[in-house]
Symmetry: C2
Subunit: 140 residues, 2 copies
């Protein structure tokens, strides 16, 4: 699998993947005769985890350590520290899930306000700027 396919499969971009590799965050995939990177489904698995850690705001340096364990099962770090890092990541995930649920509610409320505003002319985009102070300001 070439880098483009790995990117699509993992939700990252080829540029990001190359950047991660350059930075030592990702394991280097083997190269084909022509020099192209050659990814396996195992690599994609790691790429997806990298993407998840990125979404959590885990610094690349720490992400690299976690990915190393996931990839070849060796932790250069002490096992105790590794477990701590992973527990930390888990806590971040829980907090983030709560966060996002709250944001979803906020956005749904705003959308609801906007939609109730002018139920007409839905089919006409490019209208004049709208003013919906009363409706949306009730959301605070």
């Amino acid at each position: 699998m070439n880098i483009q396919q790995a990117a699509v499969a993992s939700g990252l971009t080829p540029d990001t993947i190359r950047f991660y590799e350059r930075s030592g965050v990702l394991p280097r995939p083997p190269r084909r005769a022509n020099g192209y990177r050659d990814y396996t489904t195992g690599h994609v698995h790691i790429l997806r985890l990298a993407r998840g850690l990125k979404h959590l705001g885990v610094p690349l340096k720490e992400a690299g350590r976690i990915l190393a364990v996931a990839h070849d099962g060796t932790c250069g770090e002490v096992r105790h520290d590794m477990i701590e890092a992973l527990d930390h990541a888990l806590a971040r995930i829980e907090a983030r899930l709560r966060d996002l649920a709250a944001v979803r509610e906020q956005i749904e409320a705003i959308l609801d306000g906007l939609r109730r505003m002018q139920p007409a002319d839905e089919s006409v985009p490019g209208m004049a700027p709208c003013d919906c102070v009363d409706i949306v300001s009730t959301l605070a």
Copy 2:
């Protein structure tokens, strides 16, 4: 409420809040006689939304438009575009929630592997580096 309190209440840092304000992403709060920014709970509400959008990776420019609607109910943009932007944000949230759940499973699997490794010497940190190839490599 001063900027530090607003920061704690919203989960952002004072630096980030000032940066957002400088960038035109956040509404400018009133100032006290001494020049200090003075935040209300309404502002905190907006700050929290800003944090959520940041977590989603929404670019600041787009976040600014959404926050403007949430703050004073006016969309300088056309309503249709605004709804589109918010729908887009909602879709991002759903995808992100799925993402994080998957990452949680991945991390739990790795943790499980690490914990099963050496059930002894848990109380002794600072041990030699560990090697757990067999256990963790079964996770892929």
